[in-house]
C-alpha cells in the first residue's frame, strides 16, 4: 500500500520516513485488535496523511480497510503517549519514540 500525503492545497506529496513508520506501527496495532480480527479478509486499500492536521491529533493518518461484502473500515492514526486502538471512534494512537 502506497502512503500518500494530501497537502493543504489538495495536491499530493511523498510521505516522510516518520509517516511511513506511523503507518506501519498503526497497522500492527490495528491488526492486533480483537474487533479487527473478527473481520473477514480485510485489506488495507488507502493510506493518506492529512498534512494540515497535526501529527499528534486525531485525523492525521487516514487508513481504510476493504472488507469483502461488508462495510469498509475507516480508521485514523496519530502519534501519542501510549499505544491504543479506540475501535468505536476509529482512532489509533501510536506511541511516539
Amino acid at each position: 500500500m502506497n502512503l500518500m500525503v494530501i497537502t493543504t492545497d489538495g495536491s499530493t506529496a511523498a510521505p516522510s520516513a516518520q509517516d511511513q513508520t506511523l503507518m506501519q506501527k498503526a497497522q500492527r496495532l490495528i491488526e492486533a485488535d480483537p474487533h479487527f480480527q473478527g473481520l473477514k479478509s480485510p485489506v488495507l486499500s488507502r493510506a493518506e496523511v492529512n498534512a494540515g492536521v497535526t501529527a499528534t491529533a486525531p485525523g492525521y493518518l487516514y487508513l481504510r480497510y476493504d472488507v469483502p461484502g461488508a462495510v469498509p473500515q475507516e480508521l485514523w492514526a496519530h502519534w501519542g503517549k501510549t499505544d491504543h486502538v479506540a475501535w468505536k471512534s476509529g482512532q489509533v494512537t501510536v506511541q511516539q519514540g
Partner: protein, 287 residues
C-alpha cells in the same frame, strides 16, 4: 477502491451585502491557481459578475466544493451494504481535528454555532467516505442554496439508487460532479429560482485542475429565466411574476392564483407559468 475526480467547476461564493450591494473584499479564494486566476480579473469584470449575485443572503459560503480540495470520494458502491437501514450508523464519525482542517482549507476562520457543517460531498447514505477528499464546509444559512437543499437531493438519490431506478455509481457521480445540476435533474428546480452552478470546462479527471484564466471566474447564482422550463424565480416578497404566477410552496405543492385558498398566503419557493410545467418539475397539486 474508487475515487471520483469531479469535473472542473466553479466554486460558488455567495457574496452580497444585505442591501444587495457588493463587498469584493469579502471574497475568499483558496491559494494556488484559483487565486492566481482571480487576481487576473479586472475590477470591472469582477464587479459585473458580483452584481449578478442578488439572491444570496450571507457572505462567502461555498455552495459547491472546490474540486482541487474536495473532488469527492467513495467508500463503497455496494447497494447490499448501503441500502440496509442503519448503514450510516456503521460508518465512523469524522474527527474534529480533520473538520477544523477542512474549515481552514476553505478559509473559514470564524463561524457561529450551527452556521456550517462539514458535509460529505458524496453523502454517507450514498456510500461516500470520510476521507478529506470527500469533505467540504457547507452553510445551513446561505440562501437559496444550502446544506438543507443538498440533503433533499441526497435523500432522493438514495431512494432512486436503492430502488434500482439508477445505479449507485450514477448517484455518486451525479452528486460529486455538481450537486446543483444533479438537484435539477433528479429533484426539480432549485429553490429561490437559483440556477445550477455552471461548470467552466469539461471533466479533466485531474484533482488539481483549476481555472487558468480570468475568464474562469466564479459564476454567481442567477435568477432563472422562464424561457425553457416555464419557471421563474419568485419575487423578494414571495409572490410570483405575472409571467409565471403559479406558486410552489416549501412542501413542493403548487398553488394556482384562482380557486386555491392557499395561494395568497403561500410564500413561493419557485414560480411556474403553467400547472403542466410545475408538474413536469416534480411538484404536485394540493390534495
Amino acid at each position: 477502491m474508487e475515487v471520483f475526480m469531479g469535473s472542473v467547476k466553479h466554486i460558488l461564493f455567495q457574496d452580497v451585502t444585505q442591501g444587495g450591494g457588493v463587498r469584493a473584499d469579502h471574497l475568499r479564494f483558496n491559494s494556488g491557481p484559483y487565486t492566481r486566476a482571480m487576481r487576473t480579473l479586472t475590477a470591472g469584470t469582477l464587479l459585473a459578475l458580483l452584481t449578478c449575485s442578488v439572491l444570496a443572503a450571507t457572505d462567502h459560503d461555498p455552495v459547491v466544493p472546490d474540486p482541487r480540495l474536495s473532488p469527492g470520494d467513495v467508500l463503497t458502491s455496494d447497494t447490499k451494504i448501503i441500502c440496509v437501514p442503519g448503514y450510516t450508523k456503521t460508518v465512523r464519525n469524522v474527527p474534529q481535528a480533520l473538520k477544523e482542517q477542512v474549515y481552514r482549507e476553505y478559509t473559514i476562520t470564524g463561524r457561529a454555532p450551527g452556521e456550517y457543517e462539514i458535509d460529505h460531498i458524496i453523502s454517507l447514505e450514498l456510500g461516500g467516505s470520510n476521507s478529506i477528499r470527500n469533505l467540504f464546509p457547507e452553510s445551513f444559512k446561505s440562501q437559496p442554496l444550502n446544506a438543507h437543499v443538498k440533503d433533499t437531493l441526497e435523500n432522493k438519490l438514495h431512494d432512486l439508487a436503492c430502488s434500482g431506478k439508477i445505479t449507485m455509481q450514477e448517484a455518486q457521480q451525479a452528486i460529486a460532479s455538481n450537486w446543483t445540476t444533479a438537484y435539477v435533474k433528479y429533484v426539480g428546480p432549485l429553490p429561490g429560482g437559483a440556477q445550477p452552478v455552471q461548470e467552466v470546462a469539461g471533466s479533466t479527471g485531474q484533482k488539481t485542475a483549476a481555472p487558468a484564466s480570468g475568464s474562469a471566474a466564479p459564476i454567481p447564482v442567477l435568477p432563472a429565466t422562464t424561457a425553457s422550463s416555464g419557471s421563474a424565480p419568485p419575487n423578494v416578497d414571495g409572490s410570483c411574476p405575472a409571467a409565471a404566477p403559479i406558486k410552489v410552496s416549501k412542501a413542493g405543492i403548487y398553488h394556482l392564483p384562482q380557486g386555491d385558498g392557499s395561494y395568497a398566503r403561500t410564500h413561493a419557493q419557485s414560480c411556474f407559468a403553467t400547472p403542466g410545467a410545475a408538474q413536469a418539475a416534480g411538484y404536485r397539486a394540493p390534495r
